[in-house]
């Protein structure tokens, strides 16, 4: 009888504990190793979650804790050691007894800014793991559960309102088993396009794209000297910069852009090329399809394209595939590491 009574008390306590979970929230922090460029200057740059007293408007609450003080580590990652978790809710009587903590989840949470209402895609080890739609303020957040403890290469890209994709932003991340890893302060580089593929020297070329609303956009145009210009993104994140090509030499040039807002700076966008010549040729509108490496023509560069290229690796190419290799890869008539590197650059997952 006594034994039955003890078992009954344990059962009631266990049931109460299960019904009122979560009792303990177990969390970890991102451990970004290596030197972060610009860390310590008080300005949050790519790869930095915070910098000194600049916490990028983040708090313990936004990091998944119930309260406490969030600080910044010397390597510009969040220090959540002074954050607190919620106390266990009252068990509703019964008192005493033991509690078996539920097995904690291994997960990663990604948050940052892309483009308003844009689709943000998260790749886990180069395969699509999650997508999210950014808010009208360009902020996004997504959680990835069911991970194992170990090293991952996470990558993120955004797709603007015209379907133009940003370059891949990669995060080699060490995930701790049984903890949630937070990667915050992600700032996806702006998208970029030009209105002309060739511009008559002295005419203007329009450089445009999308970023965070009201961001300050820096445009770089490469020449013997690099030219920089600044413009502001509007409320929808769209920006436009008319660049006078008079100072540029005849020939091929490249342009790229980056965005800054609230002390955070994105990395540079991918560089796109245009010619300075004797006539104006209007560029094709940006398409959703990658410019290169899409071997099966499905507007994605992923494991399927990799497999097709791997089929021809170190083999003589068929006549049909030679043409495809010329159009989509480096055009040297063979498949080797260079072609796979091009594929890795245009990867969409």
């Amino acid at each position: 009888m006594k034994v039955l009574l003890i078992l009954f008390v344990i059962f009631i306590n266990f049931r109460g504990a299960v019904l009122t979970r979560p009792v303990f929230a177990i969390s970890g922090t991102v451990d970004i190793t290596g030197t972060v460029p610009g860390c310590g200057d008080g300005v949050i740059q790519t790869g930095e979650s915070c910098d000194g007293s600049n916490l990028n408007s983040q708090t313990c609450s936004s990091q998944g804790f119930s309260g406490g003080t969030l600080t910044c580590n010397a390597n510009c990652t969040f220090n959540t050691s002074q954050c607190t978790t919620a106390p266990p809710p009252p068990s509703g009587g019964g008192g005493g007894g033991g509690f078996i903590a539920p097995p904690s989840e291994t997960a990663a949470v990604f948050s940052g800014r892309a483009y308003p209402k844009s689709t943000v895609t998260l790749l886990k080890d180069a395969q699509i793991a999650a997508t999210a739609i950014a808010g009208s303020d360009a902020a996004f957040s997504m959680k990835l559960s069911g991970l194992s403890g170990g090293n991952y290469i996470f990558a993120i890209y955004g797709e603007d309102s015209k379907g133009n994709r940003s370059s891949l932003l990669t995060f080699p991340t060490s995930v701790t088993s049984g903890a949630t890893t937070y990667v915050s302060g992600i700032f996806i580089a702006p998208t970029i396009a030009t209105d002309k593929s060739e511009v008559k020297r002295g005419d203007n070329i329009a450089i445009f794209g999308q970023s965070v609303p009201s961001a300050e956009i820096t445009i770089a145009v490469s020449s013997e000297d690099e030219f920089f210009g600044k413009t502001a993104a509007d409320k929808s994140g769209a920006y436009l910069y008319n660049f006078d090509t008079a100072p540029l030499d005849m020939g091929q040039h490249f342009t790229k852009s980056k965005a800054a807002r609230d002390g955070a700076i994105s990395s540079f966008s991918k560089a796109i090329s245009f010619m300075v010549g004797t006539k104006n040729i209007f560029a094709q509108l940006p398409t959703k399809c990658p410019a290169k490496a899409d071997l099966n023509g499905d507007c994605r560069v992923n494991l399927v394209d990799f497999s097709i290229a791997a089929y021809w690796y170190k083999r003589p190419l068929s006549a049909a595939f030679v043409q495809k290799e010329t159009e989509s890869l480096n055009g040297d008539g063979k498949i080797n590491l260079i072609d796979f590197s091009i594929m890795a650059f245009y990867w969409t997952g």
Partner: protein, 309 residues
């Protein structure tokens, strides 16, 4: 005289500084290095050498090379690539007999990291060896190439140093320097995909799949195709991606099993694109026949008993 000596001293200092400056330049090249510090190994000892990449702030997305080691001194045991920064192997690291010097063992590798990797210590893979006999040897990487994530596959400078070691009977210590961690987690979840291309595999439909295992690494994959959902008699077949499908009509469920080196497995499924119609699946006929038989039995035996009662 003193003035001359002073001038000579300044000249030597300037020359030394210039030389240092000149020699410092290649430090900024990317580097492949090893994390095994022990240079003297006892005969019979098993040890693991991790091969790492330091990109020196460059963004590198493709790598290849050949690890060469003296096969008469080292017995190759296994490769671990569980936590590799390489997402897709073009040539998964594997041992092969030396193409030139037959006494040299070789491990060939090439792979890519989509989006590129920038970091100071990215694991490529680890090699586990056993020291066979006394002697001195060198393990090195040859024909190593690293390409930048710039959309053009530009080759970047890459430094590779050799790992020199000596094997002796006289060294005290353990006979195993391999961390014995037991992996209990299955490989990562993944999404196999069916594709076709007129320029590959004679236009046949093929299956692609890839995943990673963060513990012991992926050992192998198996594939099973079946048109049935319940009575599955088809067997698992060991397979590699890409795998040409047996059922080119896409009427089968396709299962892909990833098994890690400690035997943990994860199974993913693709539903058929053109599933069997209900009357084409014999499972449904079995259900109908069993149902009819049950109804008949009920009517014949139970219902009569009920009426009589």
């Amino acid at each position: 005289m003193i003035k001359n000596q002073k001038l000579k001293k300044y000249f030597v200092m300037i020359l030394a500084s210039s030389a240092l400056l000149f020699m410092a330049a290649p430090v900024f090249a990317a580097e492949i290095f090893y994390d095994f510090e022990i240079k003297e190994i006892k005969v019979g000892t098993e040890f693991e050498i991790g091969i790492f990449l330091n990109t020196e702030k460059e963004n590198i997305n493709a790598l290849e090379g050949i690890v060469r080691f003296p096969a008469e001194l080292l017995e190759f045991k296994k490769i671990r690539d569980g936590n590799s920064i390489i997402n897709f192997w073009i040539e998964r690291p594997r041992e092969r007999q030396g193409t030139g010097d037959k006494e040299q063992g070789e491990v060939v590798f090439s792979g890519i990291t989509p989006g590129g990797y920038t970091g100071t210590k990215g694991l490529l893979f680890s090699l586990v060896f056993q020291a066979k006999k006394e002697g001195q040897g060198t393990l090195g990487i040859q024909q190593a190439k690293a390409l930048l994530n710039d959309g053009q596959g530009t080759q970047t400078q890459l430094r590779v140093s050799d790992f020199q070691f000596s094997i002796s009977e006289q060294i005290p210590g353990s006979l195993s320097l391999v961390p014995g961690l037991k992996d209990t987690e299955p490989p990562e979840s993944f999404m196999p995909e069916i594709a076709s291309d007129p320029d590959a595999f004679e236009g046949k439909r093929f299956l692609v799949f890839a995943t990673q295992d963060k513990g012991s690494g992926i050992s192998y994959y198996e594939v099973k195709e079946t048109r049935q959902r319940i009575l599955v008699f088809s067997k698992w077949v060991e397979a590699e991606s890409p795998y040409i499908l047996q059922d080119q009509e896409l009427r089968s469920y396709v299962f892909v099993k990833a098994i890690d080196k400690d035997g943990n497995a994860r199974i993913e499924k693709i539903s058929p694109k053109n599933p069997l119609r209900w009357y084409e699946n014999y499972e449904n006929w079995i259900i109908v026949i069993v149902g009819l038989a049950a109804a008949y039995a009920f009517r014949k035996f139970l219902w009569k008993k009920y009426i009589r009662a």
